[in-house]
Structures are given as C-alpha cells and as structure tokens.
Amino acid sequence: MQSFDALLNESSKAHGHLCPGQVVGVRMAMLGCRLIELDEPTRRDQIKKLIVYVEMDRCTADAVAHVTGVKLGRRSLKFVDYGIMAATFVNLETGKAFRVLSTEEARDLACAYAPDVAGKGDRQLEAYRRMPDSVLFRVQKVRVNLDACDLPGPTRYKAVCSRCGQVIRDRREYLVDGAPVCRPCSEDCYFSHAREVSWPNMDWSPPAPSDPEPPRQAPARCGLVSVS
C-alpha cells in the first residue's frame, strides 16, 4: 500500500477537495485493510477478496472507496445508509470482518492534538493526522452474512415483477401473496407519482467513434420522473 500522504493526495483529488473526512477515510481504509490482512487491496489478486460496507455517504466514504479500490458497480462497495461514520471490511477468502468506527470523541480532542492550528477545519484535519488509531477509531470484530446474491460476479437470479413486468436482479424483489413485486410497485420506494414522459432529442445516440459528434441543441425543459 502507498504511504498515507500519497493516498490522501490521490483520494482528495478524486473526491474534489481535502477535508477532515478524507483524512479519517484514508486512515479508516488503511486500518481496515491491515486488520483483514490485505496489504495491496487494489492489486488484481487482492481486489476480488475484498468487500467494504460504508455506513455513510460523506467524504469519508469516498476516501474509503478510493484507498480500497472497491466500487459500487463491482459489487465490492456496499452502501448501507445508517448515518454512522463506520465501514466494515470483509476478507472473502478468510471470512474475517472488522467494523471500524470513527470515534465521536476525536472531534472533541482535535484541540488537544493540534492546539497550534487555528480554524476548526484545519485543526481537525491536522489533529486527525496526528492521533493514533486508538483515539481515532473503535474496532469491532463482526460476522457478515453475505448472500450469494450479494457477491460480485454475474447476476445469479432474475425475477419479473408481477405488477409492472420489470426485471428484478439478485433477489431484490418482494413477495406479495407469493408473487414477486419490484420496489417501485411496493410501498417501500424512494420516489412516488411516477409517470412515463417523452423528452427532447429522443433519437440521440452516441456517434460512431470515427465521426465527430454533432453539436447538441440546448436542452429543453423536461421531466423524466416527477418528484413531489
């Protein structure tokens, strides 16, 4: 694994800015990987052994994902929306899993660890660099029950919604009176009042690689999905 500074530099560039959350995330990932004994998580032979659950969608999550190389599309990055500054690192080969939690007291201790730095953000950033892992984190050894349908690899199962016909992958359907139902057709969905619409330039497709892309018209107002 690269040095902390190199990882932080890359991670903050990828994220868009350097902030205390990035420092915590890079260190969280370094500790998590150390605990599950993966020293080069982004290397080809190790990347397939690793699953990471992040419990927040904050700067820290991006840093954890960057350092470990886990990706949503590879199914190696799992987002569970707990609103907790924590991530769980799972080694699929050994079955070992550790949940690393960022301590709340670290925020209060920033003034003790970086009293020479003025400004809340800068002080946190420097203090989180200086604190030992034991101050910055708590660690739990956990068991993670990974269903085959949660693992990386090809789709293992498809169902068809009994109400709208939508194909649902990897057992994400609900069963209502024994029949599969997709989330949008259930009560448990993040949007509502969906109605299908048309949109401008519906016939657009990417140009062939050798053709220059024709100028696009100014986008007109449209609503793919209405949100209320």
């Binding site: 301590t103 007291e105 209060d108 201790l109 003790a112 660890y113 009293p115 020479d116 200086r130 604190m131 030992p132 034991s134 101050v135 708590r138």
Partner: protein
Amino acid sequence: MTAEREVAVLKKIDVKDAVGTRLAHDITEIRPGEFKGPAFTKGHEVCSEDICRLQKLGKNHLYLIDLEEDEIHENQAASILAAALAGEGIAWENQPKEGKIGLHAAFDGLLKVDAAALAAFNMVDEVMCATLHSHTLVKKGELVAATRAIPLVMKRAPVERAAAVAAQNGGAVRVAALKKVRAGIVVTGSEVFNGLIEDKFAPILSAKIADLGSQVAGVSLAPDNETRIAEAIADHLDNGCDLLILSGGMSVDPDDVTRKAIRKAGAQEVHYGAAALPGAMFLTAYIGDTPLLGVPACGLHHRTTVLDLILPRILAGERIGKKELAFIGHGGLCRDCAECSYPHCPFGKGM
C-alpha cells in the same frame, strides 16, 4: 469516563445472607477528618461478625461477582491502565486500593504529561486518570498521577483501547531527570560593568541554577556592546559550558544589544518574546545544541518569572522554541501575590 452502566454479571444479595461469600471489591470507610480507607478488602470472606459493621457502613446489600470471559475486575483493569500510562521515571505498585493505582516519581525530575493522550484516555468510557500539571518539578516517591476503572466490572476491549491510547509515545505520564549542566552567566550592562552599580542578577540566577542541581561554571560581566557580549558568550562556550544565561539588555532601548550579540556569537535559532508576565521579553536561542536564555530585567525583582517555567524544561532536555514560548500564555500571567506560593499556584500551568 462515562455514566454508570448496568453490569449483568453482578448479583445483589442481602448483607444478612452474605456470610461465607467473598467481597467483590474493597469497602471504603470514611470517618470525617480522621480516616478514609478500605474497611474490608476485595476477596475478604464475610463472617457473621462483619454484618453489623457492614450495615454501619451503609451496606445492606453486597454484590456477588461472576465474570464473563470478556470482562475484567476493576483491579485488573487498573493494573492494565497503570502499566500503559506509566512512562519512563514512573514507579507504581500493582496493589490497587479501592480500585485505584497511584503513579509515583521514580526519581527527582520534571513531570511530563502528554496532555492530548491523557485527554483521549479520559474520553474512553469507564476509565480515568488524573495527574499533576505537566512541567511540575517532582521529588522521588511523590504521587504524580492516579488511575482507576470506574465500574466494578467492565469489558476488556475499552480497557485495552484506553491502554493503547495511554501507551502512545512511551506512556502518557513520565518524569524526566534534570541534567546537571555547567552554566555560564553573562551579566550585561555598562552600568554594572563599569562599577556604577552592584550586580544583583548573578546571585539570583546562580541560586536558581543550584536549586535545580546544576552548577555555575563562571560569571562574566559585559558592557552594552555587541562584540564584548559575543566574546563573553564564546569564552563560556570555550570553557565547556552547556547552558548560557544572559541577563539584561533584552528590552527595546538603543543600549539593549544582547539579542544582536547572541546572533553575533553564532546563534542560528533565536526566539524572542514569551507569552508570560513577568517575562515577555525573554529569549531562547541555540548555538548548536547549547541553549542560551536571555532573562529580562524582571528577573531582578520578581521572585518567579518565565525563567522558572523554562529553565527546568531546558534541563529536562526539551528544546524550547516559538511554540513552547507561545503555549505558556494560558496560565502565564502571574498574580503577583503579596506572598508568592509558586509552584503551588496556577502560574505557567495552563498547558
């Protein structure tokens, strides 16, 4: 530290039913103004004669203890915590009293507390450690800190995390022995050099140096002349002095040239100005690794000044720079009491 936690493994029994059981913890007796200590110690087998005394101590119920695998007793926790907190120069005995272990100075020296690590330690649930202020001069055997686990029984993991926090950088509490140095004193000022007035600085500085166990190798007088002061500095260095103290000439008058002389003598690192009163015009400088301290005139008429804060730290091997001189600001204001009680006062103890 934390709020009280329910511990499932503790079973409460009526004291009248306790005969034959062993106490899970020390039971403290307090006789106001007379005695405070354990009336019964952990492990004591309760006999029928004890019941009345226990009731007089307000104990109508006792705990029976049954530890889970991941739990430890307060005494064991205190031992783990003490071992982690204790850095160099700390002596402690593994004999917890009422769950507490005291950390003592193993020799005379300067107490050094890692305040950040201590704060982090105390932020861990269910443990505590209290210390004297960092940079306090302590004597061999003196109690400098004490630690305990707060509940009778606690989980092992937070104790071990607290121990890891305490053990960073070799232990949060340590005592640094003071080096015995040969100090050279340069008293500056043409009025002294020319005999117009008698020097009062050298005896005061010599006494402070001797009080800290070092010796004065030589005192030289120099007029308000950069070259002459620089030559006096060079003479002391040639004479093998490993600490130089210069008095006077630290102010802003045209005759105050001590700072320039220190640079002329070869100081690469000069920090002028300290966040302490008295002592704002204090100076630290280094020629190689040899520290030079510039003491302003306040050192003549105030019993305690910034010199009393910095000199022990220099002798304890600390390199004093801008940060150290700035950080003494919190608590760096002497109250100028009619009767000085330093070091038993807040002066210089904000850090």
